[in-house]
């Protein structure tokens, strides 16, 4: 039986980064959790994006070496609505993706998550996404990178968005495109905070997904062969290591039975306040490792 790999996304620290946390600090916090992987936002942590200076590159590789962290996934965006008056053409969108693939490769990443434009409230991506990706499959193969859009609430697993991605994989036979699962889809209890605010009844009425879309973790087994990366989204873990929103036991169990042995990359998205994420990430890393150990020891199935 394979083991999970543990990473942390710098997205977790969005309310610390740049005001109370430097890139060097982020490496320190991540490495100290025992994680071995770092996930970043390309146009976030990469200063001078999309063309970082050689000084910045030296710093990046120096930090990887010093903290013994492996680059996991780089997040990117394909801004469909380029201006108010026009959208990207297929060629332009493909060029955006190519630029991010080359940058991700330069920095040592193995996965690239592009965020495509969407056309609806259930996040159906623009039709051109296939053209963007297909034009880059050979390059991704050459660079050893898997392109992986995320399955993110309010989109569940059994949905035409996922079906479309799977059909693309089946049609092209590619190994360089797969699914990223954001564990927010398994949220089964309401969030208390959204951003830096307490959620009001009115917000709940308009944004039902705040209450959780409650995807059954067993559905992971149906798509396991296409899942290449997991963003371990969470919001609030208390001092008894109880997650208040995500049912980790059935999620870990399903990932284990599905044979998943890739990264669980911590992605804190709870109350947006400085100094909160650092320890929340530590709690999640401990919780996930504890559950993996207990599963392996047969303490739950």
């Amino acid at each position: 039986m394979g083991s999970f790999k543990y990473g942390v996304s710098t997205y977790s620290y969005v309310n610390d980064y740049g005001s109370i946390m430097t890139l060097d600090d982020a490496f320190d916090h991540i490495a100290d959790t025992g994680a071995t992987g770092i996930e970043i936002l390309g146009e976030g942590q990469v200063e001078g994006y999309p063309n970082p200076s050689s000084a910045w590159l030296d710093r990046w590789f120096g930090l990887l070496d010093r903290y013994k962290l492996e680059p996991t996934n780089m997040c990117s965006w394909v801004d469909m609505r380029l201006t108010l008056s026009r959208n990207l053409t297929i060629e332009e969108g493909a060029a955006e993706l190519e630029q991010d693939l080359r940058l991700a490769h330069q920095l040592g990443f193995k996965f690239l998550r592009p965020k495509f434009g969407v056309m609806s409230h259930d996040l159906i991506p623009e039709a051109n996404w296939e053209g963007y990706v297909e034009r880059n499959l050979d390059l991704a193969h050459k660079l050893g990178i898997v392109i992986c859009p995320e399955i993110h609430a309010p989109t569940p697993i059994r949905h035409q968005v996922v079906d479309g991605y799977i059909q693309f994989i089946e049609r092209t036979g590619t190994k360089n495109f797969g699914l990223m699962i954001d564990t927010g889809i398994f949220q089964d209890r309401p969030l208390i905070h959204w951003g830096s605010h307490q959620i009001t009844d009115e917000m709940r009425a308009h944004m039902d997904f705040l209450n959780g879309i409650r995807v059954n973790p067993e559905e992971l087994l149906d798509i396991a062969q296409y899942v290449v990366f997991v963003q371990a989204k969470f919001h609030d873990i208390d001092e008894h290591l109880e997650d208040q929103n995500i049912p980790w036991k059935p999620v870990i169990s399903a990932l284990k039975r599905a044979g998943y042995s890739g990264y669980l990359s911590s992605e804190y998205e709870g109350l947006r306040a400085p100094w909160r994420a650092i320890d929340q990430v530590r709690r999640q890393q401990v919780l996930l490792r504890k559950l993996e150990r207990e599963y392996d020891q047969g303490m739950f199935a």
Binding site: Y11, N15, T22, L41, E43, Y49, S120
Partner: protein, 134 residues
Amino acid sequence: MLEHQLIQSTGFRNFGPVGAREGFAVRIRIPNYHGTRLSQLDGFDVTVDGEYFDHEVNSFGIRDEVYTIAEMREETTARWGLLEWGEILVRKPGGLAPGVHKIEVLARIRYSYFPPDMHIFPMREERFATICLA
């Protein structure tokens, strides 16, 4: 490093010649969790002490460039990084008096990955900030 909040303390200032100020500047960090090209911003509404200045008339400065709203909407090359500040330039002859002002910014940021009807997403913050020099 930047201050945590959107509206920065430092950089809240009058601009134009002393004695004949043309307006005031509000320094902000990017109202987003990642950098973007400038065309992904759709301007900033500013209210100071109850006086409203619309995003269609306010300009935006970053590094050594100043953009009108029309220029910013079409600027697909220049970008705004996560660790950089920019400033909203508000025309107000005479500027603001030294002292504490209540200031509100509503940043209009565009997200292609939000549903079409809400793709221009408002991010609002307010605070007290201090003009030091007349």
